[in-house]
Symmetry: C2
Subunit: 266 residues, 2 copies
């Protein structure tokens, strides 16, 4: 079972769009996938048409210990399940402040139900912060996938993101590794994208092999800016259902294949 945290504290870089389309793409390739929505905005849930209304169990109950994961996950498509979130989850950050197990609640919830969790992939969609929800994802995951918009602020935040990952590796989760960086919202032909991509590749080339990102790569597949990717959520569809021939579907299909290609190593 691969557990992949999709994270970046920079806002609006394509975390949710990548998590949802990667999950949907893997499910279409016959993998069984569970997407866990860790963002109180609940956008991944919404994107998959699972709006947590009224009494729907959500990840908030898992963090507060009143529900187990099996009660929360719902089927969104063949092979694709989602454990939804809503704004209640915003309270978790404060509610866990004094809890001794605050960083491992999610890992414990997954371990407790692994027997009933026969998934090939668990994907975590993280909020734009390095708070307790993201730390829980890093502690429960084995791999990190970093969506990154090739803009100036993105590079600036990367070192902090990697430092946080290293901290989690040292203290909470020795096996955690950064699998790769996916360039999102890519504007081909702009000098900015070319410059940031070059900076990124040379940064990774110079990294020590014994860091958690020592073997990380920049995925070959770049997700180009494509308005259909921004339209699909309003129809509660993945890009493969909404516009299967558009550039967005082509790019995410390529990324799905690259992620599958690393299966032997993980």
């Amino acid at each position: 079972m691969r557990r992949i945290a999709v994270m970046n504290q920079k806002g609006g870089v394509g975390k949710t769009t990548t998590t949802v389309n990667l999950a949907a793409g893997l499910a279409r390739q016959g993998r069984s996938v569970c997407l866990i929505d860790l963002d109180p905005q609940g956008h991944a849930s919404l994107h998959l048409g699972v709006e947590a209304l009224g009494g729907t169990p959500t990840m908030y109950q898992v963090f507060s210990g009143t529900k187990i994961l099996d009660d929360v996950r719902q089927m969104a498509a063949p092979n694709l399940w989602v454990a939804p979130s809503d704004l209640d989850l915003a309270a978790t950050e404060l509610e866990l402040v004094d809890a001794s197990n605050r960083e491992i609640v999610l890992r414990e919830a997954i371990d407790a139900s692994v027997a009933n969790f026969p998934f090939d992939y668990i994907l975590f969609d993280c909020p734009p912060s390095l708070g307790v929800l993201t730390i829980n994802a890093l502690t429960a995951a084995r791999e990190v996938l970093i969506p990154l918009q090739p803009h100036f602020f993105a590079l600036q935040g990367l070192s902090k993101l990697l430092e946080t990952t290293a901290l989690v590796t040292r203290r909470l989760n020795r096996d955690l590794r950064v699998t790769g960086i996916a360039l999102c919202l890519f504007e081909t032909g702009t000098r900015l994208a070319a410059d940031v991509t070059d900076d990124l590749r040379s940064f990774l080339d110079q990294s020590d092999a014994d860091t958690p990102w020592g073997n990380a790569q920049v995925f070959d597949s770049r997700i180009r800016r494509n308005i259909k990717l921004a339209e699909a959520p309003s129809f509660a569809q993945s890009i493969f259902d909404y516009a299967p021939k558009c550039a967005g579907a082509v790019d995410y299909t390529a990324l799905v294949e690259e992620v599958i290609a690393c299966e032997e190593q993980n």
Copy 2:
């Protein structure tokens, strides 16, 4: 003195780009402006070339009570000051959990130094969350300016953002009003932008006049997507210095003029 919180919990919608270019534009029009960076990413500080290194005093010290605002603000350009932040500020959320005055620390800090704070405008750049830092901005501000990308997820989050503003108005800051919504990263010609803009205008038209957003408008000036706006931060320049004739500079000039035009009412 106008105090404007630039906020939206949705990530990557143009909060920092708007705060910095609005601040720079107002300063060029002869207003004295102080930009307060409330995002631990410190992107507004970085964008103005003020990187908080080593012992530089930051907003973290203001929230922990070890420095006053006058010690923290630095001049970034004529008429333009910035009170910088860095990652230390991420600790404030947890450090203020038990503080009785957790929501009003910033307002108290500004009120304590208003005599030395002869500014025409104070602008707050908020992080992508509705946590204690954003609540402090809403409590210290009199106006809210909401940058919004005309995408599906943006509308979805707006009602929560307005609810939070109403809560602050009821409990902490009776005078708080939403001045307007600035459409950012606008892609002219896409149906999505047109649909979301229509939805937005009809949502506002139907709002009760006695809500904090009862008089809010969608600013006429739309900030079009323009790569120069994304390049300017890497040169630590506002758009007016970096590329004064590009569409981004034209759009932000128009927004500055609209904000100035509301001066009589505030």
